[in-house]
């Protein structure tokens, strides 16, 4: 049998999209993910410029998002970094470290971590230097667990053994095979820190234990509206908060889908023109 694919195939089928572009396409092809992406971009654009737009209830709620979103970014990045480092350390440092690190992550993940933020604020004050690590803590154990699982699955994949059989030195296997294939699944895992940090801060703000009063935030705005008994003032921040949480989750799901379907095995004969 002579498999002379390509002589008959059109040039287009000879140059199929790269895996990265395919993942990007899978992300935007998910309706919820692309809507979520649009919502996020719009919010990122409107929230800083809200004071220029006017002084209605919606504009004021948008402006209150400044504190919430920047805090979510800060706490989320911190949580993502901590979670990734945690999971990578557990995978790299050998079975004993793995058992203790993952045992800790599992135990923490079982606790109501959303309480960490108001608790920290109550004990140590409401500065961002206290709240951001607390928000990171609400996300890091989950990310560590997912990271470890992803890395384990990745390390078992056969192309790493094939690279070893090809004599590729360990450092290069790490750089050229492991990291590129880990990037997308780990990014999807890390992304979950953003909605968690946002939700945790808003919850603490609602209790009056969130960011200090000088920083506007949706949680504080909600708390103020509840105290004032003003349903109209309640609606706008509640809506915006719900919208951004949904959008963050939708994009996260999209990332996960984009990362996952790169591994689905192809059925025989599926690629023939």
């Amino acid at each position: 049998m002579d498999r002379t694919r390509g002589t008959a195939a059109t040039p287009k089928s000879l140059w199929p999209e790269s895996p990265w572009r395919a993942a990007g396409r899978r992300l935007v092809e998910r309706p919820s993910a692309s809507v979520g992406l649009v919502v996020l971009i719009t919010l990122l654009f409107c929230v800083p410029t809200a004071p220029l737009l006017g002084n209605g209830p919606l504009e004021r709620a948008l402006a209150a998002g400044q504190g919430s979103l920047s805090f979510a970014l800060l706490g989320g990045l911190l949580g993502a970094a901590a979670g990734l480092a945690w999971g990578i350390a557990a995978t790299a440092l050998g079975p004993r470290a793995e058992r203790s690190l993952m045992g800790l992550a599992e135990r923490l993940a079982g606790l109501p971590l959303a309480l960490a933020l108001p608790l920290a604020a109550g004990l140590a004050g409401r500065g961002p230097g206290v709240l951001a690590p607390a928000a990171a803590l609400t996300a890091a154990p989950f990310i560590a667990l997912v990271t470890r699982a992803e890395l384990r699955a990745l390390l078992r994949r056969e192309f790493l053994a094939a690279a070893q059989a090809a004599g590729v030195p360990p450092g290069r296997i790490l750089r050229r095979h492991l990291i590129p294939n880990a990037a997308l699944p780990l990014a999807a895992a890390a992304w979950t820190a953003l909605p968690r940090a946002l939700a945790a801060e808003s919850f603490a703000g609602l209790l009056g234990l969130g960011l200090p009063g000088s920083v506007p935030s949706w949680g504080a705005a909600l708390a103020a509206a509840v105290r004032a008994g003003d349903p109209a003032a309640l609606a706008a921040p509640a809506l915006l908060l719900a919208l951004s949480l949904w959008a963050l989750h939708a994009v996260g799901d999209g990332l996960r889908a984009a990362a996952a379907s790169g591994e689905t095995p192809r059925t025989a004969g599926g690629g023939r023109p």
Binding site: P16, A165, A166, N181, R266
Partner: protein, 562 residues
Amino acid sequence: MTTPLLSVEGFSLLAGDAVLLDRLTFAVGAGEVLAVTGAAGSGKSLLLKALAGLAPPDLTCDGTVRTVGRRILVTADGTLFPHRTLGAQFVELLHHHLGLDEHMALRRAVEALEWFRMPAAARRLSLYPHELSEAQRWRAVLALAVAAQPAVLLADAPAAALDPTQRAWMLDRLAGWARENGAALLIAGRAEEGVAGPADRRLLLEADRLRPAPPPPGLAADGDVNREPPPAGAPALSVRDLRVAFRLGRTWTGEDRWLTVVDGVGFDLAEGDTLALVGESGSGKSVLARALLRLVPPSGGQVAWLGRDLAGAPPDALRRARRDLQMLFPDPAAALDPGMTVGAQMAELLETLRPDIPAADRGPRIADALREVGLHEAVAALHPAALDAAEAAHAGLARALLPEPRLLVCDEPAATLAGADRAAFLARLMEVRRRRRLALVYATQDASDALRVGRRALVLLLGRIVEAADSAALVEGARHPLTRAMLAVAQGAKGGGSGGEFGSGLPGDPPSALAPPSGCALRLRCPLARDHCAQEPPALEGAATSHRIACHYWETNSQGAS
């Protein structure tokens, strides 16, 4: 013959204008076993579904199907309800079909499970399907089917995923039940899945039509066995007492627990020679293959290539050895990095293993290698996701050939391929091997494959060699019960008649490395086992210098057979 229980006349299945099955006519009488073989996608499953009255509603059936009595279909996935205990499923089915009360139904269930030798059958009834191993699940599925006492039993690729000797035994029991109870049994599946083994008649479904399956050539009769003369020269690869064990953790007394996967294997291989490693799941053949290339670290023993031990070799020496020793992986598509083009991965291999080749020559070399295995050179620019399974297998072969190796270690190559694709790939592999005079280590679970490829074969069980001999000698007179069973099943599966006393496989499951039986590892499955087998593991001893067997009774037991 009396009126058949299942008779099909001019049966066609149409999807719109497309003809899926074209005027099939056949009949199965009481106590008869019919095998329908065919390639993947030839419509066997559809036929069975249609016969059971479960054809998808958008298809049109034509012709007549007459059945007498109850029909039961066992689907290829062998599904049980996930959230019900086995007992509950038996009770419901038997109540529905036979109107039995719970007590009677459970009695019948135990009988049926015992027919398939489910260990501790009565206790299994309280288990959920996910608590059963794959083999036990199939025992339960088949027992469930026969407990309902159908007149017509339709089985679609039953137990296809199990080991050959295990599957052959189950199919034989199923056929035995049909003959004993006067039921009509129709088994469908690919020829490789051994469905033809216990059948009285065999039909082949090809190009929408049924015709009698051609009598396949027997294994022993023809030149299908590798009878090359042993190559002269000193051994190039020599393996001594190789061990691979994985640490499982600690017991409560603080001792380390080890899982021994390869246990003291040794052999020599000259340049250009071929060796097959034969074994069923858990035999350690795959780990052994990888340990040869140090893809898994050996925990003891020695692997020497051209007189140099690889176990303690520094990275540089190991890299030089890797140039000579290349590997084919069981899932070739998974052995390619999805993030890089095929060509980039091949160039990477050249860069590390052949630094003597200038970068400018890499492209032409890669194109040559791809052409040599029959792929178009443009494949180099593709990402692995754009390849189908057969193309990936060929690309894997091309990559392995790039550094101009002298030994190929193949771990079930083409395990992801079936039918014509598989045959074509293996033919290509053998052709390349002949042309380049490559030595080959070929791990497989298919005994007939092994004898065809390997001049010599090692039969492995639980990480140990149980029989080592030339393929020609094994065909004429295999001595170990496991070898005889595997060969007989491989022969019987192709329809070469009953394979003698071992033709119906071996009962029970392959031994587990976590809890190996005392004495001989085959003891619990061996039909020839005696008391002494439990006391002492048999040593590998010679019938001839080139033929060694690990069985206490190889001399006495093989007298009757030869």
